[in-house]
C-alpha cells in the first residue's frame, strides 16, 4: 500500500511538472501561506531530508540507510540500496497585526528525492525536485487617495503563488571509510504569478484587475561533506557530522504584466509593460553554509543539532529594490531527538513498531523590517510507521510555531501544519530474497 501510494504520488508530481515547477495550486482553498513570503522572490524553503523530517530539521549530519537525505550530497555515497521520498503537507497561518487578521492555508508538494547506489556504499546518484523559495500569499489592504475633488477609498486584494524550484542531479562519493563528499548540479527555475484586484469606493472608478508574472532560470550547484564514526562493539554511541555549502545563484528574471482594458470602447487583454520599463531584473540567492551533527545511542536514540547561515544581505531583487532592502542575513539553529525503539528492542508490540521524534528550531529569518528580524520558532512532533515487509515507511509530522513580531505593527503568524513523508526503500536493487 505504501509503495502504491508513493508511486501514485510520484506520478502526480512528475506527470504535472508545470504545477511542480511553479509551486502553484489552483484549488480554491489552501493556496496561501505566510504573508512574509510577499517580498522579493519568496520565502526560503529549507531542504528537509526524509531522514529527519519528523524533527523538522534538514538532516545535514545524519545518515539513515532506509530514508533518503536530500540535504547533504555527501550522504548519497553511503546508500547500499535505492531509497526515495515524497513529501507533502498543509500549513495554516493565522496572521494578526494592529490592522486586522487573516487566515491562510497552504497545501504544498514539498519535494521528491530518489537516491540509487551506483557502487554500493561508495558512489551514489541522486535525483530530486524541490523548492528553494516559496511565495504563496493573499493580502488585502485598504487606503485612501485624493484625485482632484475626490477622496477615494480603495482596497487592494493581491494573491501570489510560485517561487524558485530546482531539479537537481548529484553524486556522492565515499573517500574513506568514514568520510564522503558530494556535489549536485541543478536547474533552478523561478516562476511567480501575482494577481491584483483593486476596488474603489467611488462608482466612477471601475475595478482594476491585472496579473504579473516573473520567469527566470539558471544552473546552480551545491556541495556536501559527511563524516561518521565506525561502529564499535564496546561503544554505545556513534557520531555523524555533516556540512553543506550552496553558492549563490544569479538569474535574470523577466516580468510580464497583463490586464483587461477598455480601449476605444472594447475590452481587450493587453500587455501593461509595453514600454518595457523594469521588464528584466537580476535576482541573486543567498549563499548558504550549514553544519550539523547527530549522536546515536544504542542505535535507537538519535540527537541531532544543526546550524545554518544564509547571507541574504548579498541577495538581490532588482525588480523591487524596496523589497530587496528588507533582506538580512539568516541564521537557523535546531535540535531534535528521534527514538526508534524497534531498532533496539526485539519484542513485538504496538508502540515498539513506531518512530517517535521531537524537534525545535529557531530561525532569525531572511527579512528585517523596521529593524525587526522576522523570527520563526517551530516545534515539530513526528510519528513514523515503518512498513511491515520492507524498510519503507510513512512519517507524519505535526508542526506548531510562530513567526514575526508585534513591534512596529508587524503581523505575527501562528503556524501549525501537518505533513506526510512517504519513504520508499529497496525497490530496485535488492531482491526480495535478501529481505
Amino acid at each position: 500500500m505504501i509503495v502504491g501510494f508513493m508511486g501514485l504520488g510520484l506520478m502526480a508530481l512528475l506527470g504535472n511538472p508545470s504545477t511542480t515547477w511553479a509551486q502553484n495550486d489552483d484549488t480554491p482553498v489552501a493556496k496561501s501561506g505566510s504573508i512574509y513570503s510577499y517580498p522579493g522572490f519568496g520565502m526560503p524553503v529549507d531542504v528537509i531530508g526524509a531522514t529527519t523530517v519528523t524533527t523538522g530539521l534538514s538532516g545535514i549530519g545524519m545518515y539513515d540507510p532506509t530514508t533518503s537525505n536530500l540535504s547533504n550530497p555527501g550522504v548519497w555515497a553511503l546508500y547500499r540500496y535505492s531509497v526515495g521520498s515524497f513529501q507533502f503537507g498543509l500549513t495554516n497561518h493565522h496572521a494578526e497585526d494592529s490592522f486586522g487578521s487573516a487566515e491562510n492555508s497552504l497545501f504544498s508538494l514539498d519535494q521528491f528525492h530518489f537516491v540509487a547506489p551506483l557502487i554500493k556504499g561508495r558512489l551514489g546518484l541522486s535525483v530530486s525536485l524541490s523548492p528553494m523559495t516559496r511565495s504563496n500569499f493573499r493580502l488585502y489592504q485598504e487606503g485612501t487617495f485624493t484625485a482632484g475633488p475626490d477622496n477615494i477609498t480603495f482596497g487592494i486584494d493581491e494573491q501570489g503563488a510560485g517561487g524558485m524550484s530546482r531539479f537537481e542531479v548529484g553524486l556522492g562519493y565515499r573517500i574513506t571509510r568514514g568520510l564522503s563528499v558530494g556535489a549536485a548540479i541543478g536547474s533552478y527555475v523561478t516562476s511567480l504569478d501575482n494577481e491584483t484586484f483593486i476596488y474603489f469606493s467611488s462608482l466612477r472608478y471601475t475595478p482594476v484587475a491585472f496579473s504579473e508574472s516573473f520567469r527566470g532560470s539558471d544552473l546552480g550547484a551545491r556541495f556536501g561533506l559527511f563524516y561518521r564514526t565506525q561502529p564499535k562493539e564496546d561503544r554505545a554511541y556513534d557520531v555523524e557530522l555533516g556540512a553543506t555549502f550552496q553558492p549563490s545563484i544569479e538569474m535574470e528574471l523577466e516580468r510580464s504584466k497583463e490586464g483587461f482594458k477598455s480601449i476605444g470602447g472594447q475590452t481587450q487583454l493587453v500587455n501593461l509593460d509595453i514600454d518595457q520599463r523594469n521588464q528584466f531584473g537580476l535576482i541573486k540567492t543567498a549563499p548558504e553554509l550549514a553544519v550539523g551533527g547527530t549522536m546515536t545511542w544504542n542505535r535507537a536514540t538519535m540527537i541531532t543539532a544543526e546550524w545554518m547561515q544564509q547571507q541574504w544581505e548579498e541577495a538581490r531583487f532588482e525588480l523591487d529594490t524596496d523589497e530587496e532592502a528588507m533582506y538580512s542575513n539568516r541564521t537557523k539553529v535546531g535540535v531534535g531527538v528521534q527514538y526508534h525503539p524497534f531498532r533496539r528492542v526485539t519484542k513485538n508490540g504496538f508502540f515498539h513498531n513506531m518512530k517517535y521524534a521531537l524537534g525545535f528550531s529557531h530561525d532569525t529569518g531572511h527579512l528585517t523590517i523596521s529593524g525587526n528580524d522576522i523570527v520563526t520558532n517551530k516545534l515539530v512532533l513526528g510519528l513514523g510507521l515503518p512498513g511491515r515487509r520492507s524498510t519503507s515507511s510513512v512519517d507524519f509530522t505535526f508542526t506548531v510555531g510562530s513567526r514575526g513580531t508585534e513591534l512596529d505593527n508587524l503581523p505575527v503568524e501562528t503556524i501549525w501544519g501537518v505533513g506526510v513523508s512517504l519513504n520508499l526503500a529497496e525497490i530496485m536493487f535488492v531482491r526480495p530474497k535478501f529481505q
Binding site: 498543509l90 489592504q141 480603495f154 482594476v208 501593461l272 514600454d275 510513512v394
Partner: protein, 412 residues
C-alpha cells in the same frame, strides 16, 4: 524488521490518515484579512497626476429653433446671457382623428400646456397676445434669430401665465370659419395651401410687462406619439363631448440682444449652440503615468459665482444637468453637434458644480492603439428648446483649482 500484529498496524495507519485528512480539510479554509500594512506598501503604487486642458476656443452656430421638444416663449433680460425675446409659433393640424368639421354650435379653444420650467423672474407674470402669423414658415427650417412676421390686426386673444401651467384661448368665429374650410376639404391638396393661407398662430410676449420665459410642451414623447393631455385645439359640443386637434408644426422666433456680460476667463456654454467650446487637450506617455490606468477624467467647473451673482434673488435659469463632448473633424460644426451623438457625456456633479468626463477608454486607445487627432467640442444638454445655459471656468481662470484639467489615476 520487528514482528508485529498486522491488524493493529493497518488500523493505526487508517487512523492516522483519517486524522490527517480531517486536519487538512479543517485547515483548508481561508479568510483573507487586512494584515501586513506596516510593511507592504502597495498604496504607493497607486499614483495620481493632473494636467491642464490646454485651450478652450469659443465657437458659435446658428442652430434650429423649430420642431424641438418645447417651444420657448416670453421675454427676459438676463444680465449674463442677454435680453431674449421669443415668439412661439404653432399651427394646428388638419387631419387628426378626432376633430371633424366644427359645428357652429361648438365651442372652440386653444389649450396651451407649459412644462413648468421658468426662465427669469419667478414672481412675475408673463403676458402674451396671440396673433395670426403673416408669412409661411416650417418648423424644421426655423433657426435662432429668424424673425417671423405676424398680423397685429388679426389678434386671436390674450393670456397671462403666473404659476399656472396651462392657458386656454377661445378661438374667434372668423378663424374657425377659415379653419373649417380646410378640414372639410376632401381633395387632399389642402396641406400646401393651408401652410400659405393659414400659416398658424404667433404667441407674442408683451415685452414691456414680461420678465419671464415659459416653455410650451407639445406633448410628444420620445417615440413621437402625442399624449392626450397636451397642447391642442379642441372643440366642445352641446353634449359636452370634446374633440381635439394636435399641432402640425411648431417653433420659436428667438431674438437675443448680445449686449451682455462677456466673461474674461470663463466661457459660455448654451444648448442653443449660440456659444460652445472647442477644447484642446493632449495625452502624453508621461502625463498618463503608466499603462495600467484606473481612471482618466476631464473636469470642467461651472463659474457658480458669476452665474449666481448675475441673477436677482427670485430669478432662475433652466438647469444644465449634462455636458457633452463631440468629435467634429469635418463638415459644418453646428450641424454636426446638433445632429450627431456625443462621444462623451457627463452629468452635472452637484458636489463640485462641474462636469466630469471619463476619458479612460480614450487614454487606453492612446496607449495601446492609435489615437487619431480629433477636434473636440464641448456642449451642454441638447438643443431641445429649453434655453439652458451655463458658464465654465477656462484655462486662464483666476481660481486655479477651477481650471479645467485632466486627472489620471494609475497603478505603477
Amino acid at each position: 524488521m520487528m514482528p508485529f500484529k498486522h491488524i493493529r498496524r493497518q488500523s493505526l495507519f487508517k487512523g492516522m490518515s483519517s486524522i490527517g485528512l480531517i486536519l487538512l480539510l479543517f485547515a483548508g479554509c481561508e479568510e483573507p484579512g487586512v494584515v501586513g500594512g506596516a510593511f507592504i506598501d502597495d498604496e504607493g503604487n497607486l499614483v495620481t497626476n493632473e494636467f491642464p486642458v490646454k485651450e478652450m476656443t469659443p465657437t458659435s452656430s446658428v442652430s434650429y429653433s423649430g420642431r424641438l421638444d418645447v417651444v420657448p416663449m416670453g421675454h427676459y433680460t438676463d444680465p449674463l446671457f442677454g435680453e431674449v425675446t421669443s415668439i412661439g409659433l404653432i399651427r394646428p393640424d388638419l387631419n387628426s382623428v378626432n376633430l371633424n368639421r366644427i359645428d357652429s354650435t361648438e365651442q372652440v379653444g386653444l389649450k396651451l400646456v407649459f412644462n413648468g420650467t421658468e426662465y427669469g423672474d419667478t414672481l412675475s407674470t408673463a403676458f402674451f397676445d396671440v396673433y395670426e402669423v403673416a408669412e409661411p414658415w416650417r418648423g424644421r427650417q426655423l433657426r435662432y434669430g429668424d424673425d417671423i412676421s405676424f398680423d397685429r390686426n388679426k389678434k386671436i386673444g390674450s393670456f397671462s401665465i403666473a404659476e399656472a401651467d396651462t392657458a386656454v384661448i377661445p378661438m374667434p368665429e372668423d378663424w374657425i370659419f377659415q379653419y373649417n374650410g380646410f378640414i372639410s376639404d376632401t381633395t387632399g391638396a389642402t396641406d400646401s395651401t393651408y401652410v400659405f393661407d393659414m400659416p398658424g398662430l404667433a404667441i407674442v410676449p408683451d415685452v414691456s410687462r414680461s420678465e419671464k420665459m415659459v416653455f410650451l410642451d407639445l406633448g410628444t414623447d420620445a417615440s413621437g406619439v402625442v399624449e392626450s393631455e397636451t397642447t391642442r385645439l379642441f372643440s366642445e359640443d352641446t353634449t359636452g363631448t370634446f374633440q381635439y386637434q394636435r399641432m402640425a408644426d411648431w417653433g420659436a422666433a428667438v431674438q437675443r440682444d448680445p449686449s451682455a456680460i462677456q466673461p474674461q476667463t470663463s466661457y459660455k456654454a448654451m444648448n442653443t449652440f449660440e456659444s460652445f467650446q472647442k477644447v484642446d487637450y493632449e495625452f502624453t506617455r508621461e502625463s498618463l503615468v503608466s499603462q495600467n490606468l484606473a481612471r482618466v477624467e476631464m473636469i470642467f467647473y461651472e463659474d457658480t459665482q458669476l452665474l449666481e451673482q448675475s441673477l436677482p434673488g427670485s430669478h432662475v435659469r433652466p438647469a444644465v444637468t449634462q455636458a457633452n463632448i463631440h468629435i467634429v473633424d469635418e463638415g459644418d460644426v453646428g450641424e454636426e453637434v446638433f445632429a450627431g451623438s456625443p462621444v462623451f457625456t457627463a452629468s452635472r456633479d452637484t458636489a463640485i458644480n462641474g462636469f466630469r468626463f471619463n476619458l479612460t477608454s480614450t487614454a487606453n486607445l492612446f496607449l495601446f492603439d492609435t489615437l487619431q487627432t480629433h477636434n473636440y467640442y464641448l456642449t451642454v444638454e441638447s438643443n431641445n428648446g429649453l434655453l439652458q445655459q451655463t458658464v465654465l471656468h477656462g484655462p486662464e481662470s483666476s481660481d486655479e483649482s477651477k481650471r479645467p484639467h485632466i486627472i489620471v489615476t494609475a497603478i505603477e
